[in-house]
Symmetry: C2
Subunit: 604 residues, 2 copies
């Protein structure tokens, strides 16, 4: 099983651990400590050994930060986690506040104990964050102090060891470009920009640059480590020695020196007098400090691998197509099973459905992992955007409701992420109308053509316009980038209200996932992955336009569509999409499933 | 007449003036000089005395810059002016290059004569521009030198005097808020931001803040001068003494000290030790230098009047509505006349039509000026986005073509800006299809509802989506802000592909003007002004949404619409708009015009 439905965290955790942490803070000569959620690799998913925020506070969400003092502790979370944070903490021990509107810096500016020495771990925070926090603390006469040892690590006596999964080559047949070619290409860019080297700290960037994959964190095959790429194309890769095999050394060849990750700081000495690109969005204050201490000149700027990694090459796009056909067959089997179980009056609950779906995916030998913990949400739980089912919250799927299932798989040739909203019995007219508004937005973003230079932010309103016209909206982005057998959430591109200057380029994979959520009632989301297509002329037109090819292949529940609300073009899109689903997935599934799929893909 | 159709500029200008300028450069101990288009007030329209770029080069476009050396001169213009710049300059004397891709800074970085001393007038350039240019020059060992006297002003012996139009009060009945209330409101914002004062250099900001209007530049009633607003609500207004009347002094009262503009620098002395907000987007390097020299601390940031000025109050919105009814009647009379003249086989040319339209507008006693020189373009001239008809380019309106007329008026209660594309005879199927694509985009942007916080950049694609789908686009913004009896192009809001972080707020007036241009064939644009409406609930919805109310009232030519390309909702929008035009404008025009209007506004 790649998922667990146990309840983790909770108020007892802080009752047990905060006293230990406070003793460590005092022992370190500090008055308080900053506890960010992020670890030194800035990943979405952390190894258990790096779940410091959860250890200190009992809050298990995927984003947040805390400030812990001798007599007070404050936990900052964003809107999607407010309820969860309140449920997982004791208000006598921990005050929950807003991460976005206030955050640690806002709180320090008005509430920091005067003169307090507040420790931070420079490996866990970006240099910009440290500067903001230091300025805020200074406004109250307090100071931010780089801690030699993280007080949490000192207090966490039963901390599990860091994982040491073997790092394995990612074959050229799947990567589409050798790491030598990637290094040569990027080295030229470094040289052109008059840079001597780049420090690569993002595990996804390491994975892409060296064509390697790891297994240290759940759901993403990321190799935790660091790398330095030089302007001559040579490189060093810093990994824990336990992860390195002869096969990996052979794959990396002579131009890539494999070194112990513990020697990273020592390795900086070789960069004295050199100009080194470091990305403040992914590298820590520690990396900036240590490079400068080693005599290097730090050039702040984007990780040079971020954009080439986002633009998938034809081999990667072909892999994504293949992974989506395979994944679509698993999802189709699941949807067929679900319909049958509901029709037969079987009791189906969120955990049971998630387990069943994982089973269908796992039947493929190619499945390496799920790409995230499935969001399996029935009725009112569907309105919780980042819902994660546990044994405590598990609900039955009831007739007259909607079931929302957001899930994905990690295959060696591609990463998938798909959401379907399914009619359980006959949903209400309102549910079907709002589903159709969401679907109209999804179709607008699937069909759009656009010129080179267009950003996701410029397209976002296309997906929202029909909801807006009805006085509705959703409080999340419309689309995120997706890696190639890598992270399911990757930049630099995105489709959202947030400012993002990255233009959409051919080969970029993005999700298209508008939604609608009625609190305590139901949730709707329609999500496909789509890849940006090459510029192509349009009959009768004058300019080449980019566009999208939909990768995800699974039926959209026709029973939730109000056909009369779709234009002729929108109906044609749904029919065309379903014809493609039936044609590609149908031959892969069992005859009874295929019969069900044919009905599910019938013309509107 | 508010317009002239004379050919200005041209190669003879530089032949005459460049030698004079070169002597002045040498006399000033310089090797070259930077000649920006902008004057010290950063206006779109300049008084003739400040048309320095036109005087030096003969190029009369509204944007550009030149670098003049002893043996070489380079003129930088953007794409819309490339042809005009080539036509107005002698290639032996002046090299025309790209303003956007290269610009003076890009050129200096690779081409600056080594060691050259290049003069600039710090009153004409922003501090950021000066820094960029200085860094670029330094890369070649050249240096940028602040010139004590602008060599152009020294060489321009027959320079006309600066205009000294009287500055007059803008009545409270039109402004909707007294200048005392405006000053008090902004002063509180300054105090809250811990600022002691703000330097206001933008003439539009002066006009809005003090409820005054001037007459120094064509098409915009701008008072050229400067002001300082203090955090206690008091202010100084610096104007040439010839512009000040007892009536103005009475209007301004005791809290606004009127001083001679020549004393501005001396006035800075009172700001020693104070923190003063200055906007680098509108204030010159000179203002920054002189304030710092006077001992003030400069706080770089947005002009505090920019956002409140953009959000029209209810009195200003009511004024805009009234001005648009009046202006719509004039445009309707013109369109009626044009139809009749074409039907009667009369010879109509671009200048004749522009003069006729000005005549209809001037028949209103309220017209103060045109808001810009009308773009009256027939056939192929319509494809020149910033076309300005002269006696040399004047074309006849021919059957089977499109006539594009973009024009507007300045009325005491509002500024108008409207474009209509008119069928002359029967336009081709392609013309009508592309017109309809443009119209569909216009309608999408007119009908959209959107949540607070949405920027114009997020809505831009709505206006382009139908053209994009056909492989077409237009190379200008979709909408610009418009002042209230002020500039016809005002920020900070805008609807375009350019990054703009300003959210659309109730009361903001923007144009909605998608277009299509087929080079050497025809041009299409549909432009209405629309005002952002207050957040309002939508039946059955959950969230309040902003929207637009269309202000412009004039028929859209039904003969160019391919009805079958419009959805039912789009047809309903056109019919509803035309019903409103007929209802509001019909009663104001003569019976024969009204009869014509009724037919022009018939249901599709």
């Amino acid at each position: 099983m790649h998922q667990s439905f146990d309840v983790k965290g909770g108020p007892k955790v802080a009752r047990r651990n905060l006293p230990k942490l406070r003793r460590a803070i005092t022992a370190a000569g500090l008055d308080g400590v900053l506890v960010p959620h992020e670890d030194e690799y800035q990943n979405e998913y952390l190894p258990e050994a790096n779940e410091r925020l959860a250890w200190a506070t009992g809050f298990t969400g995927s984003a947040g930060a805390a400030l812990v003092f001798a007599d007070h502790a404050v936990l900052f979370v964003d809107g999607r986690y407010t309820l969860q944070a309140r449920a997982q903490t004791d208000p006598e021990l921990i005050e929950v506040r807003d991460l976005v509107a206030e955050g640690p810096a806002g709180w320090l500016r008005t509430e920091a104990p005067e003169g307090a020495r507040i420790g931070y771990d420079p490996r866990l925070s970006s240099p910009d964050a440290v500067q903001r926090l230091a300025e805020a603390a200074a406004a109250r006469g307090a100071s931010l102090v780089a801690a030699a040892e993280n007080p949490i690590d000192a207090a966490w006596t039963d901390r599990p060891p860091l994982p040491k999964a073997l790092v394995v080559p990612h074959p050229l047949a799947l990567a589409g470009e050798s790491h030598a070619d990637k290094r040569a290409r990027l080295a030229k860019e470094l040289a052109d920009a008059k840079l001597d080297a780049a420090l690569v700290t993002s595990p996804a960037s390491l994975a892409w640059l060296f064509n390697i994959r790891g297994g240290d964190v759940a759901h993403s095959p990321l190799p935790l480590g660091a790398g330095v790429l030089h302007a001559d194309g040579k490189a060093e890769l810093f990994l824990a020695p336990e992860k390195v095999t002869p096969e990996l050394r052979a794959h990396l060849g002579n131009a890539v020196a494999v070194r112990d990750e513990a020697e990273l700081e020592a390795g900086f000495a070789a960069l004295a007098g050199r100009t080194v690109r470091v990305d403040p969005a992914t590298a820590s204050a520690w990396a900036f400090d240590r490079l400068e201490a080693a005599g290097a000149t730090v050039s702040r700027g984007p990780d040079p691998t971020a954009l080439p990694r986002a633009c998938k090459n034809p081999v990667e796009v072909a892999g994504a197509r293949a992974a989506h056909v395979r994944d679509g067959a698993a999802l189709t089997r699941f949807l067929h099973w679900l319909d049958g179980a509901i029709a037969a009056g079987e009791a189906v609950d969120e955990i049971g459905a998630a387990v069943k779906l994982e089973g269908f995916r796992s039947a493929s030998e190619d499945l390496k992992d799920l790409s995230f913990e499935s969001i399996s949400s029935a009725g009112p739980n569907g309105a919780v955007v980042h819902y994660r089912v546990t044994t405590k919250t598990n609900r039955k799927l009831k007739r007259g409701s909607l079931y929302l299932i957001d899930s994905g798989g990690q295959y060696p040739d591609g990463t998938t992420d798909v959401t379907r909203t399914i009619a359980i019995g006959r949903p209400s007219r309102e549910m079907r109308e709002r589903f159709t508004l969401v679907l109209k937005g999804h179709i607008a973003l699937a069909r759009v053509r656009f010129p080179a230079g267009t950003t996701g932010g410029q397209l976002d309103a296309l997906a929202r316009q029909f909801l807006w016209a009805a006085g509705l909206d959703y409080d999340h982005g419309t689309g995120h980038g997706v890696g190639s057998y890598l992270g399911v959430h990757e930049g630099p591109q995105g489709i959202s209200k947030r400012l993002n200057e990255t233009a959409l380029r051919p080969g970029m994979i993005v999700s298209n996932e508008p939604g609608y959520y009625k609190t305590e009632a139901y949730g709707i989301r329609v999500e496909n992955l789509q890849v940006v297509t090459e510029p192509a002329p349009i009959d009768g037109g004058e300019r080449e336009m980019l566009g999208f090819e939909t990768l995800t292949l699974a039926p959209i529940d026709r029973r939730v569509i109000v056909k009369g609300m779709l234009s002729a073009e929108e109906r044609a899109w749904v029919d065309g999409y379903h014809a493609r689903v039936l044609e590609t997935v149908g031959p892969l599934v069992e005859p009874d499933v295929c019969g069900w799929l044919a009905a599910a893909c019938a013309r509107l």
